[in-house]
Symmetry: C2
Subunit: 260 residues, 2 copies
Amino acid sequence: MAKILKMPLEPLSRAAATTAPQDVLREDAATFEVLRQMREDILCCVLKPDQRLRFGELRQRYDTSVGTLREALSHLVSEGLARTEAGRGFTVAPVSLADFLDLSELRVYLETRTLADAIRHGTDSWEAEIVSAYFLLSKLGPPMPDDPVGVKREWGKRHKRFHDSLVATCTSPWSLHFRSELFDQARRYHWLTMIHARSRRPNEHLALRDAVLARDVDLSCRLTEKHIRTTVDQAVSEVPGLTMDRASGRSIRPSRRNKR
Amino acid sequence: MAKILKMPLEPLSRAAATTAPQDVLREDAATFEVLRQMREDILCCVLKPDQRLRFGELRQRYDTSVGTLREALSHLVSEGLARTEAGRGFTVAPVSLADFLDLSELRVYLETRTLADAIRHGTDSWEAEIVSAYFLLSKLGPPMPDDPVGVKREWGKRHKRFHDSLVATCTSPWSLHFRSELFDQARRYHWLTMIHARSRRPNEHLALRDAVLARDVDLSCRLTEKHIRTTVDQAVSEVPGLTMDRASGRSIRPSRRNKR
DNA sequence: GTAAACGGTTTTTTCGAAATTTTCGAAACT
DNA sequence: AGTTTCGAAAATTTCGAAAAAACCGTTTAC
């Protein structure tokens, strides 16, 4: 009956079903749960930028051991959500305008690259998931500063799910991987925006959904680019702390797009 | 006195001196040394693709404890050099043609993006380091399959140093970070090439060096792109194991470069 | 008055053993 | 014969304590 066939041995560099780089630790293990919680707490600024992460407090907060914490923190450092120095422990990664501009520029490329490929390889179930994810998103948003935290959190989850669904059929594991990391990074700044920004924006997600479902690569990418850039502009103009640091706030927005 | 002023509280998003994402753990700590060694061993295929990494053997090989090993392995998973599954430990990440093609395509973009920006922000000391790094590289290479392992390793180090020096003045921390990760990934395949390939190539590094020192962005990027693609082609045609797996070996090489 | 030196306290880092889970082969059953 | 069940062995995961390092307020010397 439905059992996996026994393989002779390790074919020594077999073509894995998923040649993907990696994406997440293991779904169940205890370390993963701690990692997931800490990531969420950093993304939602429960753990504030530059905050010192002492093992004592963390051990209490997440009810786990030092070793497990260390492994989770180690992962967060790799993802760029935490920092660590020689012998003085861990801190939450700082936020800055320069950082937001930099990562947003790279996001424009990775989001459009993955989206274009995803559209070309789209399937029916891909479309179905997009429709579904958009529906859930539209039922909620957009959240305003006065909304309770729970609503904001849920919106964040659905927002991520929607954008993930768009690029789900992209065939480049590495592009998807980096896109995902940068998307999470951007979520920190989105959270700050959600807390402060009061201005409303036209429903960019609906337009994007329709462009993608229409398989219009050019329009979809243009909308995506604008979506990202608008979010940056909104954050810059409406989030108090973010305009203050003038630390080399220029990004490398490529002046000539098509260089050859 | 030169002491850091006490801050009232957490300024909630101060402009950090280095807004960089991250790059490496801590320079000294024992974990870092183990991580460095393991990474090198994976890159040079001392630990072979798909090989199971048991704590028993590893503990003996690197003379360290389980916890330290776990932290290092955890990092390697984040970097895509290892995998881990629910309760069955760690393995070395597999290699495949599809993976090499995919990461190489993304490398073309990231290398040219960072290089173009680095050239625009180049300084005298940047040029000096390039000259120096090239000199060291040219004294050694290129290594042939018959050369001893030590020579190959040293060449790999100098090759990396040369390419790192080219992009050193790039102002985008995120681009540099991802570039660096992908460069290391590519090193695994370069190693396979070094072991097998007997064909000679014209001195692409010299031409690249001169184009960069001449601040010719266009030419430098074109040479870089060709450099990466040629390496892929050489690996595909001369590394035995790499052509065998036909697992969806197509990458997403963007058909239209300038989308808008 | 400034700077270096000291020691107690906190915090991080490292370690190996206990607990849990998986693996694998043999026995029992259909 | 083939499949399932069971139990011993092996490997992984988790944990808290011991060791090492950094921090900070105080004292001491110049």
